[in-house]
């Protein structure tokens, strides 16, 4: 009898999934059969989708729920007295409550937006009139443009001072610099929970506590973490949190601003029109209550009707298990890419300190060429500056290639990526 026990264990250096992962033998895919798009071929090859940080694929249940909304319930919300209007409103409000339950806040502290970007613009614009020239805002060097440009623009308009929390050589926020950046005039600290380039998970609670001691508000871009990392709004200790449904297995065109009760009351509306008012005369208007005062116009009800199905899928898998899975995939990717040699790999080395993505640079193959050649093999990765130009300047590269993971990925996908990089190098004669 030959023992094959060794074969069942992860190869040396690979962080194995723990037993809690259930069906996770050599980190198998989770619910991948529920994602219809993953069945397609790209350039004659089975699709290997490694771009979930840009947008995740959607479970069939989400796609069906959005179609069902338009087939069976479509009507405008909060105004129709007819049956369809009531049904549409119920679905829309059910999404709000579901998101609240997912993050541990009451539904009335959940504002529905078009996405994380519009939610960040709402926070920046909505705080604008309460800030005075000379007031200070701290942003980090690893922000996505969505959490940087609205603050740059606000600072320009209101005469505010923008301060930058730098990134260390290891790809982490330089927390030693924080005490000197926080001053009595600091009004806002805006930071990402998980970097979309480095993968770094930032110690938001620690930074929020320091900011609050100075009386500053804390705004967290959770676009890369909601639906991937287990946490509640309260655990982050932030005043505002934003995310997009489409990066959490939900539909596009839908996002959320979640806030503390007092923080939301401080915010002024930035869009005006129908649906956000209490009383309107020809010369004046009063605002509806939070969160409705921030929801002018007709929202994306179809997407809202569908998003709970995505959160149900996440909860069925459990966030703990999804997180374990992403750590395993990230650890394996880091290990395989490092072993390949010649690549610069960005961000913390410990997969447990990172979200489910790895950015790398091959001095022999420009990221565009890398992405194009991988695509010819059916492998989808992102190439470019990932809407984080200041960070790339800091890293000393114009662009990077990024592989990012979802519940449906497996170690096989990373093996395919490594083979694909080998192929790209062969084309360039490297």
């Amino acid at each position: 009898m030959t023992s094959r026990g060794d074969f069942l264990r992860a190869p040396a250096g690979v962080e194995p999934c723990d037993g809690q992962a259930g069906d996770c033998s050599r980190c198998g895919r989770i619910f991948s059969e529920r994602f219809p798009l993953l069945e397609r071929q790209v350039n004659g090859r089975p699709l290997v989708y490694l771009d979930s940080a840009a947008t995740t694929q959607k479970p069939g249940a989400v796609i069906a729920a959005e179609a069902r909304y338009y087939r069976e319930h479509n009507a405008n919300v909060h105004r129709g007295m007819h049956t369809l209007g009531v049904e549409a409103t119920d679905l829309y409000e059910a999404c709000r409550s579901r998101v609240g339950r997912f993050l541990g806040v009451p539904g009335e502290r959940v504002v529905v937006t078009r996405g994380a970007t519009s939610a960040l613009n709402l926070v920046a614009g909505g705080l604008g009139s309460s800030l005075k020239p000379g007031d200070e805002i701290i942003v980090t060097e690893m922000e996505h443009h969505a959490n940087l440009v609205p603050w740059i623009e606000l600072a320009r308009r209101e005469g505010l001072v923008l301060r930058h929390l730098p990134v260390t050589a290891d790809g982490e926020l330089d927390l030693e610099r924080l005490p000197q950046l926080l001053t009595p005039r600091t009004r806002v600290v805006a930071l990402t929970h998980v970097s979309n380039v480095l993968g770094t998970i930032n110690p938001v609670a620690e930074i929020a506590a320091a900011a609050h001691r100075r009386g500053a508000l804390v705004v967290v871009d959770a676009a890369q973490s909601v639906g991937h990392l287990p946490f509640t709004f309260a655990e982050l200790g932030a005043d505002f949190l934003v995310f997009s449904a489409h990066k959490a297995y939900g539909p596009m065109g839908l996002g959320f601003l979640v806030g503390g009760a007092e923080a939301l009351e401080r915010l002024q509306p930035v869009e005006f029109g129908g649906e956000m008012i209490e009383t309107v005369t020809m010369d004046s208007a009063t605002w509806a209550a939070v969160p409705y005062r921030f929801e002018a116009g007709t929202p994306n009800v179809g997407a809202a009707a569908a998003f709970p199905a995505a959160l149900d899928t996440i909860d069925e898998a459990t966030l703990q298990r999804l997180r374990q899975h992403e750590i395993s995939l990230t650890g394996y990717a880091l290990e395989r890419l490092e072993r390949l040699g010649g690549l610069t790999i960005f961000g913390p080395r410990d997969a447990a300190q990172r979200g489910g993505l790895v950015s790398f640079h091959d001095p022999m193959v420009h990221p565009h060429d890398m992405a194009q050649l991988l695509d010819s093999q059916g492998i989808a990765v992102r190439a470019g500056h990932h809407c984080a130009q200041p960070l790339h300047r800091r890293l000393g590269v114009v662009a990077t290639s990024r592989a990012s993971f979802g519940m449906y990925n497996s170690h096989d996908d990373i093996d395919a990526l490594v083979d694909g990089i080998g192929y790209a190098r062969s084309v360039f004669g490297a």
Binding site: H366, H368, D369, Q372, S376, H385, V398, A399, V427, F428
Partner: protein, 158 residues
Amino acid sequence: MNTGMDELYREVILDHHRSPRGREPLPGPADARAEGKNPSCGDELVLELACAGGAITGAHVECHGCAIATASSSILAELVAGRTPEQVRVLAEAFRTAMHSADGVLADDLDPGDLEVLTGVRKFPARVKCALLPWITLLSALDAEGEGKPAAPATTEA
């Protein structure tokens, strides 16, 4: 190679990418200079031209871009030397038209050299910008030179 990759990464293009022309600094100060950017991907290049007797005598290109942008810069550096600014404008316009046409043909009397090979990139719409970036930068440099003022940075986003 497969799925058209051999058409995109032709040997001529790979050769220009491996040993790009026009990387040597100009012997004297530049007579025209412009920077080009592709904001959607972050690619950047700086183009400098030397002129004498109504003709371009040399080009210096610093390109931080992909193989297609690098090869296009290299072909540009090779082609502009010895031509007048007007001839170069006609060539740039013909290349732009070819990149948006079905057959991608460049007239022989333009003496298009390796640019003919580069028109194969038109079958990959996402990469057309990469091929055109050096050429819009060139037009920006020529405009500035004609008006005797510093060039506005060229961008692939109009």
